[in-house]
């Protein structure tokens, strides 16, 4: 297995399962700044893919392009073979792709269960059914006992789990998680990783942005590395972190940050 790949991902990697998400030549320009440049990647059913790269590499921008927060300037995104790039966010969510936000966005004046119900209403207009789905996911993330509390009152750790619960309530085929473990205690992080594995067992694919390298290596089947808006590597986690270009990108990245 080689990690030298740039823009032809998994060309010589054998991966199981059908393709869920495919990002093809995606680019994004913000008034003169090329935030993403010709990025390719795929996610198969049941895979956990880590998306890493130094700060400003374009990870969250890629999430935004995939989830429809804004359309990519070039390239296409396909979900289950259908083009979703250019669709508004709510349609992409309904097509089976859910996401969380780096800075949690709880619906503050709603209760915890109502937050999850908003996602669940994709599947039903009946409130009681949405409530059932929502309670299931709250049970799953361990927030069931806080169901009637106001979402704005939760601790950081609980807000992160609520963020996950709201997305999971849409019963997505693929989940995009943007630094959902940032700010969690070590034990909370461990619980979160368990949740990821359980989600995978249910057949949900995960695309994860995370700063904690250990966690990424631990949980991901494959890792995609972005640097300055370009895909610079793809492969198994252990191989990728030893790739010279990745190391260079990270060192360079830290220099820029400092």
């Amino acid at each position: 297995m080689s990690a030298d790949e740039t823009n032809a991902p998994d060309a010589d990697i054998d991966r199981d399962g059908e393709q869920i998400l495919s990002v093809e030549g995606v680019g994004k320009r913000f008034s003169g700044l090329q935030a993403l440049d010709d990025v390719d990647m795929t996610v198969n059913r049941g895979e956990i893919i880590g998306l890493i790269g130094p700060n400003g590499a374009g990870k969250t921008t890629l999430f935004n392009c995939i989830s429809g927060a804004f359309p990519p300037t070039s390239g296409t995104v396909k979900l289950d073979g259908d083009v979703i790039s250019g669709l508004p966010a709510h349609k992409i969510a309904r097509a089976g792709l859910a996401r969380t936000f780096q800075i949690t966005r709880p619906l503050e004046e709603l209760t915890v269960v109502e937050n999850a119900m908003v996602g669940a209403h994709i599947h039903t207009r009946r409130r009681s059914e949405a409530r059932e789905i929502a309670m299931e996911t709250l049970e799953f993330v361990g927030l069931a006992d806080k169901a009637e509390e106001e979402a704005g009152e939760l601790t950081v750790g609980a807000q992160k789990r609520l963020e996950l619960a709201r997305a999971v309530s849409t019963r997505p085929e693929i989940l995009l998680l943007d630094e959902i473990m940032a700010g969690l205690t070590p034990s909370e992080s461990k619980q979160m990783l368990d949740l990821f594995r359980q989600l995978r067992e249910r057949g949900t694919s995960l695309l994860i942005i995370e700063h904690d390298m250990k966690a990424i290596i631990n949980i991901s089947d494959y890792v995609k590395v972005l640097d300055q808006g370009k895909g610079i590597a793809f492969g198994a986690p252990e191989t990728v972190v030893e790739d010279d270009r990745v190391i260079e990108a990270y060192i360079g990245g830290f220099d820029v940050d400092a």
């Binding site: 709510h90 619906l107 004046e109 119900m117 849409t170």
Partner: protein
């Protein structure tokens, strides 16, 4: 267990029951229906009616009704409208123009007004939301759309310009005083009619709040992007909110035009009307079902009583209005109806501290 706690626990058990909203609603509207009688009860040689006339009650319920309608858009979806006078005025003008100029029954005029206002709301909403107006910009845009209508109507000879309309007699449109004519010879039936209006808009609000629509509305209010990320079509639902709100506001304008004798652009489209239409909801508690009603029963009688009691001091009622506005947004932006729960939280904290110190 103290007596108070027993009562409280009983109330909590009651509150969890499915029939609780029904019981509360019946109690509230029963009280409203009884108010005209209550104000005439002689207490120690004083009738409440001396202060609180049936006319003031009608005005109070009108503003409770319009605030409830405003609330559907601005309280629930969070799109703060400063231009509901546009819808109110459309309702009033559509009704009067059809009644006076074409001898159409006012009920039909009212529905036409509602539909027109809904359409105007859709235009305002579609433009503003498509161009992503938010915060100040959205509030100013709604105000501009209302002021625009005021000047358009003022300059339209077809709608009698600045002179407006004088209400027709029932016989002019082939009806007799009564419900069908939307005109009565005394105030009591007018009162029950507007209470009926309030009941309808409150029921609609309740149904919205207790369905997915309401949840979507609130999700949009709290965080539109987060809502969209889990499948809420925010553009469409914001439009639904505007249209429903505009429709019911117009019915309020229609009622207004059938209760008072005249309408003019400077009354139904007035700059100040925009404030009157939203204030009860803001004072009572935006986004709540009870807030607009409670708010109107605080704001309207107080300013009306101020106006009539100190009739030689012109403007005192507006000072009271102003003081309400400032005080409520600074000290209690969630409105008066949030006070009981806040008091409870405070009580809990005080008691909690005691337990710790013990």
């Amino acid at each position: 267990m103290s007596a108070i706690e027993t009562v409280r626990d009983r109330y909590r058990t009651f509150d969890d029951q499915r029939y609780a909203p029904l019981v509360k609603g019946v109690a509230l509207f029963g009280l409203l229906a009884a108010l005209p009688t209550i104000i005439e009860i002689d207490v120690a040689g004083m009738e409440l009616a001396a202060l609180l006339s049936l006319k003031v009650l009608i005005l109070t319920v009108i503003y409770a009704y319009t605030a409830q309608a405003w609330n559907i858009m601005s309280g629930y979806t969070g799109q703060f409208s400063f231009g509901h006078a546009a819808f109110f005025g459309i309702g009033a003008y559509a009704t009067q123009a059809l009644v006076v100029d074409a001898a159409v029954n006012p009920w039909i005029g009212m529905l036409v007004g509602g539909v027109l206002a809904g359409g105007y709301g859709l235009i305002i909403g579609a433009l503003s939301f498509r161009f992503k107006l938010q915060g100040h910009y959205f509030a100013l845009a709604t105000l501009a759309f209302a002021e625009l209508l005021r000047f358009v109507v003022t300059n339209m000879s077809e709608l009698n310009g600045a002179n407006g309309y004088f209400k027709a007699f029932p016989r002019d449109y082939g009806a007799e005083y009564g419900l069908v004519a939307f005109q009565f010879q005394n105030d009591l039936p007018y009162y029950y009619l507007i209470v009926g209006f309030l009941l309808v808009v409150t029921l609609v609000s309740w149904v919205i709040k207790n369905s997915w629509v309401g949840l979507y509305f609130f999700a949009i209010r709290e965080d539109e992007r987060a809502a969209a990320s889990v499948g809420v079509p925010s553009f469409r639902y914001k439009l639904i909110g505007v249209a429903v709100s505009a429709f019911f506001t117009a019915l309020g304008g229609a009622y207004w035009s059938m209760y008072f004798n005249t309408i003019r652009p400077d009354t139904v489209f007035a700059l100040f009307k925009n404030v009157e239409l939203l204030l009860p909801a803001v004072v009572g508690g935006p986004g709540t079902l009870l807030g607009p009603i409670v708010g109107s029963f605080i704001v309207t009688p107080v300013s009306e009583i101020a106006r009539t009691t100190f009739s030689d001091i012109n403007g005192l009622d507006r000072i009271i209005y102003g003081a309400f506005l400032v005080a409520i947004v600074i000290y209690s932006p969630r409105g008066v109806v949030s006070w009981p729960s806040q008091a409870r939280a405070l009580w809990k904290r005080v008691r909690g501290d005691e337990e710790v110190s013990e």
